[in-house]
Symmetry: C2
Subunit: 226 residues, 2 copies
């Protein structure tokens, strides 16, 4: 069996890749990075570095034109990404998705991955959605309910040629760091910050969550922050 | 409310467009055609003609690289499309999808449509999957079960910003011709044949089904066949 891993270059998906390599062997794993007009296009470089670290083939695919017209703050040319913790954003938004929610992004990514996986003979797609991102409906396409529906759609629509493996759907980012540290994931090569720049900002929701996830494990994040 | 219509340029999706225009008004409808390396790229020209007929904006988007490696006979460069009715193919394949099944194509199309719809402020996606295409699991991504799961995935993953309208999911192609004829859909401008060429072949599964659908309504298909 071959596996296709959705690899953003962030902490979660890099740990996913480590799990897939452990399960299927490096020769049976393909990674896929999607560029979608994100401000932090820097993460694609991180995906390349992480894929290289494992010796895994990395495919890239551009879907940015699909999001033309969206006001999502994660997309290049739009308003700034908020420098506020997710917890504060969730409280302020009261059940509405955060401004960095990219329209149905994970659904699109999983659908692209499904079509590619079947075309290339991969029977499973790994992706790294986790519990913290789904909290308070911040990212509705990270929720367990979304995962269940999308998995079903992919299994039925592909005649069970491919399925989704979502190892962190019920885990926190701190849990992921724990798993990844044991697997020796090269976190110094990953990129999480939602802003551009040479160094991560340390102040956007994703930086705040990342730093906290390392702290909760009593480990120092190997990245240097601004 | 604005609607986005997946328009292939075929009979089913052109009738879908007519329904959406009737429901939302021409100024609130956007059509979307996807090229995916199909042999019958001629259908995109048909989509343009049909969109023009209604005065609707047509967006096009290319996803063909996603299917690299697929052996699907509908894709350019692969084996010939079978010249056999769907009924015969279904019987021969005994529950497996037909060779013209494009890997998770409808799931991919709906996901692209969902991301675009939200980005452009459309609240509903129209698409023309029907009962005949789902029969015997010929196209698993045309089935009612797929429709239910994918609709749920899109509704949850978009925080209900968009939903799917699937007016023909429980209808036959003959039912569609009946509805479309009443709506005066310009069927002479549509294209269904899965082979390339200047005129439809009249012998592939889709041509056979189309001709039969007109016959069952006691109407002559306005297209000239080879």
């Amino acid at each position: 069996m071959k596996a296709l891993v959705l690899l953003s270059g962030g902490l979660d998906s890099s740990t996913c890749l480590a799990l897939a390599v452990k399960e299927y062997g490096v020769e049976n794993v393909i990674a896929l990075s999607l560029s979608y007009g994100q401000k932090h296009i820097r993460e694609i470089k991180a995906a390349e570095d992480v894929a290289k670290h494992y010796g895994v083939e990395l495919m890239t695919y551009d879907v940015k034109d699909i999001f033309k017209g969206s006001e999502c703050t994660l997309l290049d040319g739009n308003e700034d990404v908020p420098t506020e913790s997710y917890a504060a954003q969730i409280q302020r938004l009261n059940g509405k998705p955060v401004s960095t929610y990219v329209p149905f992004r994970n659904g699109l990514f999983l659908a692209v991955a499904a079509s590619m996986a079947i075309s290339k003979g991969c029977g499973v797609i790994y992706y790294g959605a986790h519990k913290d991102d789904a909290a308070g409906n911040a990212y509705p396409d990270c929720s367990i309910d979304f995962h269940i529906a999308m998995t079903k759609a992919i299994e039925i629509g592909s005649d069970k040629a491919v399925t989704i493996c979502d190892p962190f759907i019920d885990k926190t980012k701190a849990d992921i760091v724990k798993i990844g540290t044991e697997l020796k994931v090269p976190y110094q090569k990953t990129w999480s910050c939602y802003k551009g720049g040479d160094k991560p900002c340390g102040r956007c929701g994703t930086c705040i969550d990342r730093i906290k996830a390392f702290e909760l494990n009593g480990i120092k994040d190997p990245l240097k922050y601004n």
